[in-house]
């Protein structure tokens, strides 16, 4: 109730109480009006109180909901963040697996699988550009003897060292893989047969001069290399086979040498069979 209301009520109460006004015709009407006014004021106060209560309940509920919403939102963000990290972790692991699936564990060189992919790619590139490429098969001479006489540790060190020697001689487009056991395959894009024979000779000399760390002084390392120029329209397998035949010819001629494949130099099947036994 306002001060003005309180003053008015006090004034009316004192007028009604005054004996001088008793019996006045307006006395009863004023008394009734004053009573009615007090009742309405009371109702209004009660209504305001209920309304305020209701408003504050709504406000509290809104507050609680928005807090809950924010909490949920923080939680969702946290789930997404952790989940993203897991996804990243998995991606990295996949990447690692992909790398290790394509590399030779001992030498770190590309393995046979990656080389086959690279050869197919080169086949397509070469068909488009019209430029030729050469493939070489390189085999360490008498590797079995190294393993038998010096132990497999030394054998492994020879392979690793040879990978380093070969890698050092590669141009950026060249590709070198461990093809199997003591055999390496080299791919030389955009290289003529004559140039490939020169590169092969350089590799042969580098290997002959190499001293693998940890290998006995007496160990004389050498390798035989067979090279084939890819013939347009041929399969990759055919080119690799020609390089392999040239390699057999290099072995037949006394090892530690480079042979470029030609029909004339291709060894007979009997020679290959004999050399295969010898290479074991």
């Amino acid at each position: 109730m306002s001060q003005a209301d309180a003053d008015l009520e006090a004034r009316i109460a004192s007028l009604l109480a005054d004996p001088a006004h008793a019996g006045h015709p307006l006395h009863a009407a004023l008394a009734e009006l004053s009573q009615r006014h007090r009742e309405l004021n009371g109702q209004l106060a009660r209504l305001s109180w209920i309304s305020d209560r209701y408003q504050s309940a709504v406000r509290d509920e809104h507050q609680a909901l928005s807090e809950r919403y924010e909490r949920q939102q923080r939680r969702q963000q946290k789930i997404a963040r952790i989940s993203d990290s897991y996804q990243q972790l998995q991606r990295e692991q996949t990447q690692k697996l992909r790398v290790s699936a394509n590399l030779d564990a001992l030498t770190g060189l590309p393995n046979r699988r990656l080389m086959l992919e690279r050869l197919q790619l080169e086949l397509r590139n070469s068909a488009q550009s019209g430029e030729g490429f050469c493939v070489a098969v390189l085999d360490i001479d008498r590797f079995k003897r190294i393993n038998d006489e010096c132990g497999h540790d030394v054998g492994d060190r020879v392979l690793t060292h040879l990978a380093t020697v070969l890698s050092a001689q590669l141009r950026s487009d060249d590709f070198c893989a461990r093809w199997g056991g003591e055999e390496f395959l080299l791919l030389w894009p955009k290289l003529s047969a004559a140039a490939a024979a020169e590169v092969g000779e350089r590799l042969r000399a580098a290997i002959e001069a190499a001293r693998p760390p940890g290998a006995p002084q007496s160990l004389q390392l050498s390798a035989s290399i067979g090279i084939a120029l890819h013939q347009r329209g041929a399969e990759i397998a055919d080119t690799v086979k020609c390089a392999d035949l040239a390699l057999y010819e290099a072995k037949r001629r006394g090892r530690n040498r480079v042979v470029l494949y030609s029909d004339a130099t291709a060894p007979s099947p009997e020679t290959i069979a004999a050399l295969r036994l010898d290479r074991l």
Binding site: R75, K78, I79, A80, R81, I82, S83, S85, Y86, L89, Q90, E92
Partner: protein
Amino acid sequence: MTDLQVPATQSTPAIVSDAAAGLLSMRGDSYPENSFQFFAPVIAWVEAQLARATTALRLELHLLYLNTSSVKAMMDIFDLFESAHRAGKAVAVNWYYDRDNGRVAELAEEFREDCSFPFQIVAGTKESPA
């Protein structure tokens, strides 16, 4: 209370519980097709265990990969632990990771952020997985 004995599969972890010892362990990768179905019995077991008046509960985790819904399930479990901890119960989590895979420890750290109960991140090795 029935204990859990869930063998590991390619996509779900092995889960073993021991109500008497107050122990629950999970080991492996977790990317179930239906995560709700997979974790519902685990969450129910945790709730039942925590509802017992005097029990303690230790959770031993050897988890590697979790998909999104498994991350959510783990957070639900940690929420139950948090409430129990605030109610004065003895709860703890030990999260083991392979020393060679430190990233898993970083992820465990992220889970631990909002937890006030004892939560250890423990390095092990492949040979002796802690």
